[in-house]
């Protein structure tokens, strides 16, 4: 197996299982997304990859500590230092050649739209600007593995596009990037996706393969279906999507081609239905 990642990673906090047998592959020069809501286990997985948390069972393949860049969910930026001082400090901690590190810092700041904020105190930056600084700090030493915990959550679209430039740049330079996000449109930008739900993998792979592997078919209807079918339906784009095991024989039923959002929603519904059956049994 090539690249970095985890194999059957399980993490328990006391009796609570935060992650159960999760496998993630992160290739050099690619961005891998870990998607899920609050409490899905994204942070636990990323902490194991970054080496700040030990697995209960399973294995983690990661480079040596100084070859990892890690942005925890709280950004790790010193508010009393200026933007450039933060990056100089980072360069010193990693013993980077001074000139080269400064040149790289300036280029990243410029491309991420922070050129005018170089001498501002980090504590005075907006949330989006602080996140961009934090990502630059995490990638400044050109790590082999860059682990970013929700770099774009709560960030406005303009800062988000700056962040995505930085992420693409790190990957284009050969880094394996793993990032957590709650948003599927961000996951679609990545080469591979791991969807987590309550500590287990709901789906994994390139997003087109996740979509192709979706069982059953999707129908579009005008009104919310009644009864049991309501559990298999959700609202999207002002109409209803219904997930069916096989194409319906009702005339006029409109089949739709699923996308990643549909496929992930179906996986979550399928799990809900299975869990209810287990409880009933």
């Amino acid at each position: 197996m090539t690249g970095w990642g985890t194999q059957d990673l399980t993490v328990r906090y006391g009796k609570k299982t935060a992650l159960a047998k999760v496998t993630l592959q992160a290739q050099a020069g690619q961005v891998t997304a870990v998607v899920g809501g609050d409490g899905a286990g994204k942070t636990t997985l990323l902490r194991c990859l970054a080496g700040t948390l030990a697995p209960t069972t399973g294995t983690v393949r990661k480079p040596a500590k100084q070859r990892i860049g890690y942005l925890p969910s709280s950004s790790g930026i010193y508010p009393d230092l200026t933007v450039l001082e933060n990056l100089d400090f980072r360069a010193t901690s990693y013993k980077l050649p001074r000139q080269a590190a400064r040149a790289r810092a300036e280029e990243y700041l410029d491309r991420a739209g922070l050129a005018d904020a170089k001498n501002r105190l980090a504590g005075q930056l907006s949330g989006g600007m602080r996140q961009k600084l934090a990502v630059i700090a995490a990638m400044l030493h050109q790590p082999d593995l860059l682990v970013l915990d929700e770099p774009t959550t709560g960030v406005d679209p303009v800062s988000r596009s700056g962040l995505w430039w930085l992420i693409a740049r790190a990957a284009a330079d050969g880094c394996a990037v793993v990032l957590a996000t709650t948003y599927l449109d961000e996951a679609e930008r990545c080469a591979t996706v791991l969807v987590l739900d309550a500590g287990t993998a709901l789906a994994a792979g390139p997003s087109d393969e996740i979509v192709a592997a979706m069982p059953g078919v999707l129908c579009r209807v005008a009104d919310k279906p009644a009864g049991e079918a309501a559990r298999r339906a959700w609202r999207r784009g002002g109409r209803w999507r219904v997930w069916l095991e096989r194409p319906p024989d009702t005339p006029g039923a409109e089949l739709v081609t699923p996308d990643l959002q549909d496929a992930v929603t179906v996986a979550a519904i399928a799990r809900e239905i299975t869990m209810t059956k287990e409880v009933a049994a």
Partner: protein, 286 residues
């Protein structure tokens, strides 16, 4: 009948800074209006004026046909970004408190979707569950107008679909909804969009009205990283897209020129996404 909420030529200045400039916005019964914009675009200031929390410097704001007041406030449901729940009260206590504020009947059963959290302290609940309570709270007095600030932040995809179902149910029952979001994928749930940049409305209409004929170029190559570097070197604004790239607003011929003799390079033109169009508008406006 007058609109539920209406801002007419509204301007708001703070000292020498104009936060909102000559903005018009309407929300009618039964419609979901999405308010999109970057930080500092003026969305929050506009909402504060609609809520009656701050006064317009010029222009006028009306809620239910009259200036915002205590009375109009009672017909309005608001979910702020921070949710506005009391962490050290239970779900049931939070709901009872709201009922009291709005002078409603006591001992009304909790809505089905939050009943199982009745005795749980808000502070001990997952963010998704807290959001459901905040929604139920905002809807409990059957408001005519719902104002939601980033309503689905941090929620998983199925949870988000369910929250949008709640929003759409309220609209189907006749309420008007004004929603702010950073996330363009949610714009598809809104009947109408208003995009702000630097205090001004730069576009309004349905998503397809706004996208219009804007195009992007999709790039595929044996090595996306090499394609990225070549586009960068040519000064093109290029974005990662799965195992390829997208170059918004640039025609394929120009992108092909930038790629030169790159092995396996293929380009094709596709309609722009709403997000790509958004940046075009923001760049032009800013």
């Amino acid at each position: 009948m007058s609109p539920l909420a209406e801002a007419s030529n509204v301007t708001k200045t703070f000292g020498g800074f104009t936060a909102v400039k000559d903005v018009n916005l309407r929300v009618e019964p039964g419609e979901i209006v999405g308010l999109l914009g970057a930080n500092g675009a003026g969305k929050t200031t506009l909402i504060k004026m609609l809520l009656g929390l701050t006064r317009a410097t010029s222009g006028s704001v009306a809620l239910f046909g009259q200036p915002p007041s205590r009375q109009t406030r009672s017909r309005l449901g608001y979910v702020p970004q921070g949710l506005g729940l009391y962490d050290d009260l239970t779900t049931a206590e939070n709901m009872a408190f709201t009922a009291k504020v709005f002078n409603e009947a006591k001992n009304v059963p909790l809505p089905e979707e939050i009943a199982r959290y009745a005795g749980d302290l808000i502070g001990s609940m997952s963010l998704g569950a807290q959001r459901r309570v905040a929604f139920a709270q905002a809807l409990s007095h059957q408001p005519d107008l719902l104002i939601l600030d980033e309503p689905t932040s941090g929620v998983d995809p199925l949870g988000r679909a369910r929250l949008w179902e709640t929003i759409a149910d309220a609209a189907d029952a006749g309420a008007g909804v004004l929603v702010t979001t950073h996330y363009m994928e949610e714009a598809g749930e809104c009947g109408r969009l208003v995009i702000m940049a630097d205090g001004v409305v730069v576009a309004a209409g349905t998503a397809s009205d706004i996208i219009g004929s804007s195009q992007a170029t999709v790039v595929e190559a044996d090595s996306w990283a090499a394609a990225f570097s070549r586009c960068e070197a040519a000064g093109l604004a290029v974005a990662l897209a799965g195992r390829g790239l997208r170059v918004p607003g640039v025609d394929p011929a120009k992108v092909r020129l930038a790629l030169g003799d790159l092995p396996g390079a293929r380009v094709r033109q596709v309609p722009a996404t709403l997000e790509e169009r958004f940046f075009e508008l923001v760049d032009a406006g800013g």
